[in-house]
């Protein structure tokens, strides 16, 4: 069987004809398999949705209970039959509940990895490389310039700055699902025991992570009712990146703008956003991890999607692997 008869792109997203389903469709479809809960991958309005229990919960939190016609939870590493295709979810290590989806028929196996990372992360199950014929990889950080540093060192930089500027509040911009909880968890692992203040947009997802057994320590809403301006002096406040450009941020004393993202590797990105302390902390693979993962899967063919496809395609060519960009539209190039 040819790979493209098992999976190919359609305007709605990646389609599997033997199973008659889409993976992470960008438009509503009859049957959708969802890799993880980020808004560009998990959209409301599909007929049937198959995803991990955590991803279904997260979609419920974000879109309300009626986000799809019917839901089915997938168990990691348990194959299931959908039409003529066999489907297995495997952990992707990106955010809580994130999965790669392996699709098989007649001895041909394609793994759609969704977004994935290889670094240790106590807030989700670690990525597992799956042997396959075709590996579909993301390329968010698909350029040799992206090399993420050790997250422990980045958190140490943040705590260093809190020591240097005890009179200022440190505002850490972090995406609401995954990154925010990871930043908080890393701070706890570094021995930071103080109350961490969070923006309202993070509350439900933080509660959910805690309910799933991820200990985030003492959290409090960063609302004006919790105290006067001075109470935030020396505090760490975590919020969505957009909140810090907003009037919301004015309640803090002379804030240090921090942003936890893989994009912070590029100085100009930090400068443009007016970030004072960039924290290079990503939930995606860096260049070395992308290339190592491609090698580990043993795939003879690689399809590259959302991000900087051309560099990974070039790397595959140099290493004797067939590769092509998969021009999927609708996924955020900026996501991290």
């Amino acid at each position: 069987m040819r790979a493209r008869d098992l999976l190919h792109t359609r305007p709605e997203g990646l389609y599997c004809p033997p199973g008659d389903f889409f993976i992470d469709p960008v438009k509503p479809v009859e049957r959708a398999l969802i890799t993880h809960g980020h808004a560009d991958h998990a959209r409301p309005g599909n007929g049937k949705v198959l995803a991990t229990a955590e991803t279904l919960d997260i979609m419920g939190i974000r879109y309300g209970e009626g986000f799809a016609g019917s839901m089915q939870a997938a168990t990691l590493a348990e194959p299931m039959q959908i039409g003529d295709a066999r489907v297995t979810f495997h952990p992707a290590g990106h955010v809580l509940g994130s999965a790669q989806i392996a699709v098989e028929k007649d001895g041909m196996r394609i793994v759609a990895s969704g977004d994935y990372k290889r670094r240790a992360d106590l807030t989700c199950t670690a990525f597992k490389p799956i042997a396959c014929d075709v590996f579909i990889t993301e390329a968010t950080f698909g350029l040799p310039v992206f090399r993420h540093p050790d997250p422990v060192d980045e958190i140490a930089r943040l705590l260093d700055s809190v020591r240097q500027f005890p009179e200022r509040a440190h505002l850490v911009g972090a995406y609401a699902l995954g990154k925010a909880q990871r930043v908080i968890r890393l701070l706890r692992d570094a021995g930071y025991g103080e109350t961490i203040y969070i923006h309202g947009a993070l509350a439900k997802l933080c509660d959910y992570y805690v309910a799933q057994g991820v200990d985030l320590g003492p959290l409090a809403p960063a609302t004006i009712e919790t105290g006067t301006k001075d109470q935030f002096a020396g505090a760490i406040v975590v919020g969505t990146p957009s909140a810090f450009a907003d009037r919301w941020a004015r309640r803090f004393p002379d804030p240090v703008a921090c942003f936890a993202s893989g994009w912070m590797r590029i100085r100009q990105r930090a400068r443009q956003r007016g970030v004072e302390l960039p924290l290079i902390l990503s939930d995606h693979s860096d260049w070395d991890e992308l290339t190592a993962t491609i090698t580990e899967t043993g795939a003879s063919e690689v399809w590259v999607t959302h991000g900087r496809e051309e560099a990974l395609v070039r790397w595959c060519a140099l290493n004797g692997i067939t590769a092509q960009p998969l021009h999927l539209i609708g996924y955020e190039d900026e996501g991290d």
Binding site: V145, Q164, F165, D246, R271, E276
Partner: protein
């Protein structure tokens, strides 16, 4: 090296002066000798290490990776040093690499010769992590550009030791990296280093601006007045054959003014204003600009725009320190000295005779030369005191020009102002009277109160018509728009701006909520102010 690299990265992105100071003092207090002294020298531009050419860097990196992948990377990042620091192949596991000290790196670089330079440089890059590689490349390609002035570095030293910045400035030119005796003194481990250098810098005396009631109680007879020339404050010092030309912060600016330096055949320290042209024909501000912000100068430029010094104070003659003497006596000694100086390069700042403050005010408002920005008042009996003592010296500037302009774009600020639209681009009307359009004429980000900032911020958010990243385009037409009264010090012709004019020191002087945008000024009003 890692700590130095982190310091550089933090300094670049920290907008506030106090934030930079905190970072510097923390670094100096927690870093051992000689590394901290070398870091300081690097920041102040006083570190002597062999330079590396960008072409050599490119060769090194493309020997180690696929040139196509390097090309993609460089296109994306846009900065060669940063790209190379990121893509440089890691040769060993992170745990096996140790973090070399800055002093070790500097010593290695200083040992490198022409032939083994590239190999030694590559070995260093192999041993460093990404931020340290970036710091190394920036150091050796001579482009730190991190917004730390020599003055700020000296202030950090002063803060470290609980001293005055003036004391550091006075010592600075006698010291060499890594400044061990200086740190020993600042930390109370040794006596203050003697300033052994010839032609040392003498911290300058500055004036307070005249405010509302300052002159009410002052007697005009106690003061001498001079024109306030809008050049560069310099201190020309000659001692034992050593000649130095200092800026007001003690930076040696002599390399940019070799023509003036050549004429400094005196044993004295003179305070004055550096101007362009000749004593008999002072050049315009745009002539002066030709000579500003240059590390060196071509003969052609120096001939076309010669530098000269308008002298107004004498701090030292031979072995005699004149600073404790009253201004009137120093002035008399200066007048006596002038006769021995090259009249093409040095002249005496003339006194402006006046009988009353009203009289002087009238002169201030109509100065005889466009490069005059007001008058200086100096008490006859005042000694020369470093810093800005209140009372003995005043500056009384000409009133600024003003224009009514319309707010066109607003950009989010930094630091404390990161949630405010606080940087404003404004324009005036141009073209057809019946259907004019706004052309931007400048940008201002101060001059308003915190309350006014809140009001403008709200206005910007409520009247946004387009967004480009941190910038918002604000509704501005004949009917609706916010009129800003802009104050500025002068106007130059500009080929870089569509309007053809560039304002000097523009700031917002009033918010004209009351004024309809159609009544804002036209470009012709500004053009009339341009120097002939």
């Amino acid at each position: 090296m890692r700590r130095f690299a982190e310091l550089l990265d933090r300094l670049v992105l920290t907008p506030a002066r106090n934030g930079k100071l905190t970072l510097l003092v923390d670094y100096l207090a927690t870093t051992p000798d000689p590394d901290r002294g070398l870091a300081l020298a690097a920041l102040a531009g006083d570190l002597d290490i062999p330079s590396v050419k960008p072409a050599m860097l490119r060769t090194l990196v493309t020997e180690r990776m696929d040139p196509v992948l390097f090309g993609y990377s460089y296109d994306y990042v846009g900065d060669l040093a940063e790209t190379i620091s990121l893509v440089w192949p890691e040769t060993s596991h992170e745990e096996e690499r140790h973090d070399p000290r800055l002093s070790e790196v500097v010593a290695t670089l200083q040992r490198a010769g022409r032939s083994d330079g590239p190999r030694i440089f590559a070995d260093l890059l192999d041993r460093l992590d990404i931020p340290a590689r970036f710091a190394l490349i920036k150091l050796t390609t001579g482009g730190l550009r991190i917004g730390v002035s020599a003055r700020l570095a000296k202030q950090a030293l002063a803060d470290l030791g609980g001293k005055e910045a003036n004391e550091i400035e006075e010592l600075w030119h006698g010291l060499k990296p890594p400044y061990l005796p200086l740190f020993a003194w600042l930390e109370g481990r040794a006596e203050k280093p003697a300033s052994a250098a010839l032609a040392m810098f003498r911290p300058v005396m500055l004036a307070h601006p005249v405010e509302d009631r300052d002159l009410e109680t002052a007697d005009p007879a106690d003061y001498a007045a001079e024109w306030k020339w809008d050049g560069i404050r310099v201190q020309a010092t000659g001692e034992g054959g050593v000649r130095r030309l200092y800026s007001r912060t003690g930076d040696d600016v002599a390399p940019a003014f070799p023509d003036l330096l050549e004429a400094m055949d005196f044993e004295a320290a003179i305070d004055g204003e550096l101007l362009v042209g000749s004593p008999s024909a002072t050049g315009s501000f745009s002539d002066l600009q030709q000579r500003l912000n240059r590390k060196s100068v071509s003969t052609k430029l120096a001939t076309r725009f010669p530098a000269f010094m308008r002298c107004y104070d004498l701090l030292q003659v031979g072995g005699e320190d004149l600073r404790p003497l009253p201004f009137a006596e120093r002035r008399a000694r200066l007048e006596a000295l002038m006769a021995s100086l090259d009249p093409e390069r040095f002249d005496l700042s003339p006194l402006v005779p006046f009988g009353s403050w009203e009289d002087l005010n009238a002169r201030r408002m109509s100065p005889p030369h466009p490069v005059i920005e007001g008058v200086m008042l100096k008490r006859h009996d005042s000694p020369y005191i470093p810093g800005r003592p209140k009372g003995p010296w005043f500056k009384w500037k000409r009133d600024p020009f003003t224009v009514d302009a319309v707010l066109m774009y607003a950009q989010r600020g930094h630091g404390k102002r990161s949630s405010f639209y606080s940087d404003y681009t404004f324009g005036v009307w141009a073209g057809d009277e019946a259907a004019p359009e706004l052309v931007p004429v400048g940008k201002a980000y101060f001059g308003f109160t915190d309350e006014e900032l809140r009001q403008i911020d709200k206005y910007v958010r409520d009247n946004t018509i387009e967004r480009f990243g941190p910038v918002r385009s604000v509704r501005a037409d004949m009917k609706s728009g916010l009129v800003l009264e802009i104050a500025f010090e002068g106007l130059n012709r500009s080929t870089r701006h569509r309007s053809g004019v560039a304002m000097r020191f523009p700031r917002i002087s009033r918010l004209r909520w009351d004024k309809p945008p159609a009544e804002a000024d036209r470009l012709e009003t500004l053009q009339a102010l341009l120097p002939g």
